[in-house]
């Protein structure tokens, strides 16, 4: 049976996020020849229609309401519930992002639905959809499916992938009015303090340069930032580095902290405690740089350099600069 699958588009700094393209790709597969509907919220939503179509949406429902320019749980809960009631989808897919994590379970509870969150893979065999998701922060995996009813998934950034956009595609657009009275918006966002301005988000980064206790100080992270900048990547850290005050806890990767799966993970001065490995060992390619040849991190590394990160990392930065200048 062909399915109608709904995706909530998510933008950051004025652009659609890659995870939205991954969600559209997942939706296309789940739809089994059916219809992919994207919902886009806020004053800028109309501008996303073509891009959403290029990445697989057949229809776009636009809720052009300035109260949705900034995410709030109550605003998005009401708008998304309204879109679901309006489109009556067989399946719903969101990104497993800060927004998706806050919104999807709440929507599921409101509509009395199940939800399988943080999926890293989806198998579609006709009507049946089987999801794979990490458990114990990636120390193991579980395959799960819905017994019945509407399918509802969130997909982890960087795992499902997406195809090159097809610019010949277009989508039907529909404006849906959603009234949001102020007394129903119970939380107020007073201020957003941008700490990652211009930087790459850790969970969506293709390349992560990460530092541990071996970095020795906040100042020491400078060489990692320089390498990350050349590679267009993000900087992460181990718990040891965060506990020692070298960097903010928002950078922590591990079983507590963020779980990441970039294409390339460069671990600098990280010994490789089991909690840290849980957060990064499913990265596609892992490089370890550590003075201690016995460090655990080398057990999961594809490539290792035994040496002082303060000598090795600047050399790598120079080599990458040369390589990328060649194109």
């Amino acid at each position: 049976m062909a399915k109608k699958v709904l995706v909530l588009a998510e933008a950051k700094d004025g652009n659609l996020r890659n995870v939205t393209f991954e969600a559209l790709n997942a939706a296309r597969r789940i739809s089994n020849g059916g219809t992919v509907v994207a919902a886009a919220f806020g004053s800028a939503a109309g501008g996303f229609v073509n891009t959403l179509a290029h990445y697989g949406a057949d229809q776009v429902v636009v809720v052009n309401n300035a109260k949705l320019d900034q995410y709030t749980t109550d605003g998005y809960l009401q708008a998304f519930t309204r879109v679901i009631e309006h489109t009556q989808p067989d399946a719903i897919v969101l990104g497993h992002t800060a927004l998706g994590k806050d919104l999807a379970p709440r929507v599921a509870a409101k509509l009395d639905l199940g939800l399988i969150s943080d999926c890293t893979d989806i198998e579609v065999n006709g009507d049946e959809v089987i999801t794979t998701r990490p458990i114990y922060s990636g120390k193991a995996f579980a395959k799960r499916k819905f017994k019945s009813g509407t399918l509802f998934l969130t997909v982890r950034p960087n795992n499902i992938g997406f195809d090159e956009p097809d610019t010949s595609r277009s989508a039907q657009t529909e404006e849906l009015a959603v009234e949001l009275s102020d007394d129903t918006l119970r939380t107020l966002v007073k201020e957003v303090v941008k700490k990652t301005a211009g930087g790459v988000d850790l969970t969506e980064a293709k390349i992560i340069v990460s530092g541990g206790r071996g970095v020795k100080s906040a100042e020491g992270f400078k060489v990692l930032y320089e390498l990350a900048e050349v590679l267009g990547g993000a900087v992460g850290a181990s718990r040891g580095a965060c506990d020692a005050g070298y960097c903010d806890y928002s950078l922590q990767i591990g079983q507590t902290g963020k779980v990441v799966t970039p294409d390339l993970y460069i671990a600098c001065g990280i010994s490789g405690a089991i909690q840290h490995l849980a957060g990064m060992s499913n990265s596609k390619v892992i490089v370890a740089i550590n003075k201690d040849p016995e460090a655990n991190i080398f057990q999961v590394a594809d490539y290792g350099i035994v040496g002082d990160l303060f000598e090795v990392v600047p050399k790598l930065t120079e080599e990458f600069k040369k390589l990328l200048a060649e194109g």
Partner: protein, 255 residues
């Protein structure tokens, strides 16, 4: 202030995961309070110290989960509820319904929980519970201030910080950085043994297990494929740096 914390007992994060008879093997495993829930317990106790009132800790789980509740009581919580009933050990949908019934039965001004458990990692409990209780939520908080019924919290949003205002009653979920959980003191541990711990079943909560039956099922659990041993580069560091960059481009094809 009537303060409720929902927590989960999880594997110690030090534990290696093995599979036995198609299930995650619990033999010989050390259990702890889910680290994010531990932040919630600590914050709850700090609220009690500031405003007075009572901290109730609630969990759904088997007998062994009593230890996690006793630890929370030893930290300073006042009473505990253990919902130990296999008929409602369902999925996230089921557990949220059961917790909502237990929290409503207890009453609340504020509900705290971790933002995610380090075992299943679904992160659904908090937002589902807030919806079922029909109260606002602030997830992944790193700071909480309450003044009268006004609540101000800072939340971690993928590295940026949102400052959120709302009013009690509210549900918040804890993120790392919120606080530094205290260790239970010896007198705390002694006292905890005498603090009330109530055991409930689905029937006690007026829940028909069939009505809250899981919407999803787990088909299989498995371990990730073992990684092959990697290549440790040799030679002087300049040569190693050159070789690595070349390998990443030509062999691994990630640059």
């Amino acid at each position: 202030m009537n303060i409720v914390v929902c927590l989960k007992q999880t594997f110690d994060t030090e534990e290696k995961i093995t599979i036995k008879d198609g299930q995650i093997n619990e033999d010989g495993v050390e259990f702890i309070i889910n680290p994010y829930d531990e932040y919630a317990v600590e914050e709850a106790i700090k609220l009690k110290e500031q405003f007075g009132g009572e901290v109730t800790v609630i969990t759904v789980g088997p007998d062994r989960a009593e230890n996690a509740l006793r630890t929370a009581l030893a930290m300073g919580a006042d009473k505990a509820v253990l919902i130990n009933d296999e008929s409602i050990f369902g999925d996230e949908y089921t557990i949220a319904k059961v917790l909502a019934a237990a929290v409503k039965r207890n009453g609340f001004d504020i509900v705290l929980a971790g933002n995610v458990a380090v075992d299943d990692g679904a992160g659904q409990g908090g937002p589902r519970l807030a919806e079922l209780l029909d109260i606002p939520q602030i997830t992944t908080i790193t700071k909480l201030e309450i003044d009268g019924d006004k609540v101000t919290a800072e939340r971690d949003v993928e590295g940026d910080v949102e400052i959120i205002e709302t009013k009690l009653p509210v549900l918040v979920t804890a993120q790392q950085g919120l606080n530094e959980p205290r260790y239970p003191s010896l007198p705390g541990i002694m006292k905890a043994k005498k603090k009330p711990l109530e055991r409930l079943t689905a029937a006690d909560l007026g829940i028909d297990p069939a009505e809250v039956a899981a919407k999803t099922e787990t088909l299989e659990v498995f371990l990730p494929p073992k990684k092959q041993a990697g290549k440790i580069l040799e030679g002087d560091l300049d040569a190693q740096a050159k070789e690595l960059v070349s390998l990443l481009r030509n062999e691994a094809k990630v640059i």
